[in-house]
Amino acid sequence: MAVQNKKLNLKDKYQYLTRDMGWEPTYQKKEDIFPHEDFEGIKITDWSQWEDPFRLTMDSYWKYQAEKEKKLYAIFDAFAQNNGHQNISDARYVNALKLFLGGVSPLEHGAYQGYAKAGRQFSGTGARVACQMQSIDELRHSQTQQHAMSHYNKHFNGLHDAAHMHDRVWFLSVPKSFFDDARTAGPFEFLTAISFSFEYVLTNLLFVPFMSGAAYNGDMATVTFGFSAQSDEARHMTLGLEVIKFILEQHEDNVPIVQRWIDKWFWRGFRLLSLVSMMMDYMLPNKVMSWSEAWEVYYEQNGGALFKDLERYGIRPPKYQDVANDAKHHLSHQLWTTFYQYSHATNFHTWVPEKEEMDWMSEKYPDTFDKYYRPRYEYLAKEAAAGRRFYNNTLPQLCQVCQVPNLFTEMGAPTKLSHRQLVHEGERYHFCSEACCDIFKHEPEKYVQAWLPVHQIYQGNCEGEDVETVVQKYYHINIGEDNFEYLGSPDHKRWMSIKGEKPADENQDAA
C-alpha cells in the first residue's frame, strides 16, 4: 500500500497550529479567565473569524527569525571590528542615536510587555498566537538596538544610561507616557493604539525613511537593526489592519468606540513622532527626504488609501488629521529650535544648521523656512558667535496629555501659540492643542495622574531644585560631556581627531 505523504499547505498548517489551543472551560467561568475582554464595551461574537493572513506557524517563525538574527549579528560584528563609527558622515549624526536609544528602544521593551499582557487577555487563539509572536519580536528589537548602539557608547557620550534616563528625563516622558497610556488601557484599545494607529499608520515614518537616512549617513549597524526590526513590522502592520477589520466586523456597536480610539491614538502618535521630524530634518547630516515629504508619502498617501478602505465600516479619517497635515511645514523646525534652547538639559547635543543645510530646508519648505525659521537661526548663530550661545533657563510648560512642551502653533497661524486650558475638579490643566484637550476630557481620571517632569522638579521630587542638580544627579547626564552645544563638545573634538583635523583632548580612538 502506497503511503501518501502529502505536505500540508499554509492554511492547513495554520489551522492545526491554533486548533487545540482553545477550549470551552468547564470548571471556571470564561469571564473569570478573561476578565479584560468585556470591560471596554467591545463585542466579539465569533473569535473564529480572526484571520492571520501570514499564517505563520511556530516552526517557520523560529526558522526565519533565526535567519534574520544571524544576518544582523554578522553585520554588528563587522561594524565593530572595522571601527564602523569612523565611517559615518559626521558625529552630529550620533545624536539621533542618543535620542533613539532613550526614546525608542525602551518602547520596544514596553511593547514586548504589552503584547504579552494583551495576548493573555484574549479568548481567541488566533489573537493569542499573534500577540505572542509580536511580543517575542519586540523583545528582539529592544535587545538588538541596545547591542547595535553599545558600540557607539564606547566612542561617544550620552549613551551610557538610557533605561534610567527613559524613566526620568523631561523629553523622554513624551515616549514613556505614550506607551504607559497604551499599556494601561484595555487589550482592544492597546491593539488599536499600537498595532493599528502606531504600527500600521505611523511607524513607517521612523523605520523606513529615517533608517534609509541612517544608511545614507554610513551607519551600517543602525540601518541593519532598523530594517531587521522592520521586517517583523510587516507582520505587525498586517496584524494591525486585521485587528481593526475584525473588531469592526464583529458588531456595529464597536464602530464608535474604535473611531474614538483611532482619533486619540493617531494624535498621540503624531505628537510622539514630532521627535522623529527633528531627527530627519536636523540630525541626518546627509539628507535623504524631508519630514514633510515623508509625511506626504507615508501618511497622506498611504493613510489616505487606508482610511478610504475603512469607509465601508463607517470609519472616517482621524479627527485632527488636517492639523497634522498642516503641521508638516513647521514641525521639525519648531522642535529643533526648542531643543536648541534646552541643550543643557539633554543627553545629546544641538547646533545651528550649516548654511548648506539651511538652503536644503529652504528648498524643501519653500513657504515656511525662510519666512519663519531661518531668521531665528541667523539670530542664534550671531549670539553664539558673540559668546552668548543661548540657553533657556526657564522650565517649559508641558501639555498634560502628550507631555511635549507647549511649543506648537495654531493651524494656519504659525506665529500664534497653540494653547488650551480647562479646570477639572478645581485644578487647572494646560494642553498643546484642541486634540490633546479632547483626549483629557474623555478620560480625566487617567490624565490627572500624569507624571509631568517640570511639575515634579518644582515639587522637589527630582533630587534638587536647580536644573544643574536635576540634570546631573537625577538624570545621570554628565555635565560638560553629554549636554550643551555640539561645537566644541568632547564628541566634536573626538570626531575632529578621528578625521585627523585636530588633536583631541583624549586619545581613545587612536587605535
Binding site: L10, Y64, F207, M211, S231, V288, N302, A305, D309
Partner: protein, 89 residues
C-alpha cells in the same frame, strides 16, 4: 482618489530578484530606489508569484522567505503557498 499599495525591500541580493519578479508580474507598478531600500508601489494591487520567483532564482522558493527581506507593506494581505498579494478592494 488614487489608492496605492506598496512594498519595501532591503536592497540586497535576494531582493533584486524579488523586485524583478514583482515588476514582471505587475506592469502597472512603479519602482523607486532609495538608500538601502527598494520601494515598489502600484494602484490598488500588487502580486508576487512563487512561480515567477522560482524561475528567477532557478530553485524552489517558499513565499514566506520574503519575510526576511521585506521592510514594510501597505494594503490588505492575502498570502498562500503560491502568491503574496497586497490590495485595496
Amino acid at each position: 482618489m488614487s489608492q496605492l499599495v506598496f512594498i519595501v525591500f532591503q536592497d540586497n541580493d535576494d531582493s533584486r530578484y524579488l523586485a524583478e519578479a514583482v515588476m514582471d508580474d505587475n506592469p502597472h507598478a512603479e519602482i523607486q530606489h532609495q538608500p538601502a531600500m527598494i520601494r515598489i508601489q502600484a494602484e490598488k494591487r500588487l502580486v508576487m508569484n512563487r512561480e515567477t520567483m522560482e524561475e528567477k532564482l532557478g530553485r524552489d522558493w517558499d513565499v514566506q522567505e520574503m519575510l526576511v527581506n521585506v521592510i514594510s507593506i501597505g494594503g490588505n494581505v492575502d498570502e498562500d503557498d503560491d502568491h503574496f498579494i497586497l490590495e485595496w478592494k
